[in-house]
Symmetry: C2
Subunit: 108 residues, 2 copies
């Protein structure tokens, strides 16, 4: 399991990635992150939902309600073009970050 402040700068990116193949909602995204990371990273609920508000405030995602079954409250999210652009930036930044950090890592 990975400590949280390593991923800190990338929580938003992970969420955006999850929204790239269509809209989704909190609980689903959380589970997907969990399985895709092979249980190595579990995003806390509070982290996830506060990330949503941040992302929406920044215009990277939009939220809307969808009631499939009566009474079930679910907020869905969709990625925006700005969100996609941000995601791409972050991907590039990640490449650089890897390179940089790897210079300080000794295998043994």
């Amino acid at each position: 399991m990975i400590s949280s402040d390593v991923i800190r700068g990338y929580n938003d990116t992970l969420i955006l990635y999850m929204l790239m193949d269509g809209e989704s909602y909190g609980y689903e995204i959380s589970k997907k992150i969990r399985t895709l990371s092979e249980e190595k990273y579990i995003m806390k609920e509070t982290t996830l939902y506060s990330a949503f508000t941040r992302l929406e405030k920044n215009g990277y995602i939009v939220s809307f309600y969808k009631e499939e079954t009566f009474g079930k409250r679910r907020t869905y999210y969709r990625i925006t073009p700005a969100g996609l652009a941000y995601y791409r930036e972050k991907c590039e930044e990640w490449q650089v970050t890897q390179e940089v950090v790897n210079k300080f890592i000794k295998e043994l």
Copy 2:
């Protein structure tokens, strides 16, 4: 240049790496990080020095004074066995982190 909260969880690790080939002091470490990262990461002074206090409190480094030239105040730091162990843990964690994050990164 890399944003700070990407590296956030690894500032301590970078510093420890810098102390692995012998004792050093703040200003020197800062410069070394800068050059080793090819100017892609510049650790802020405040970040650096507050990391020193944290690392020392955790027993990962020890500090001592050395006055080479008269009047020059310099605090030197040396890595401890605990610090080395912590560094190694962090290196392993980093490998996992890379793997995990890369699952969420699409090249394009």
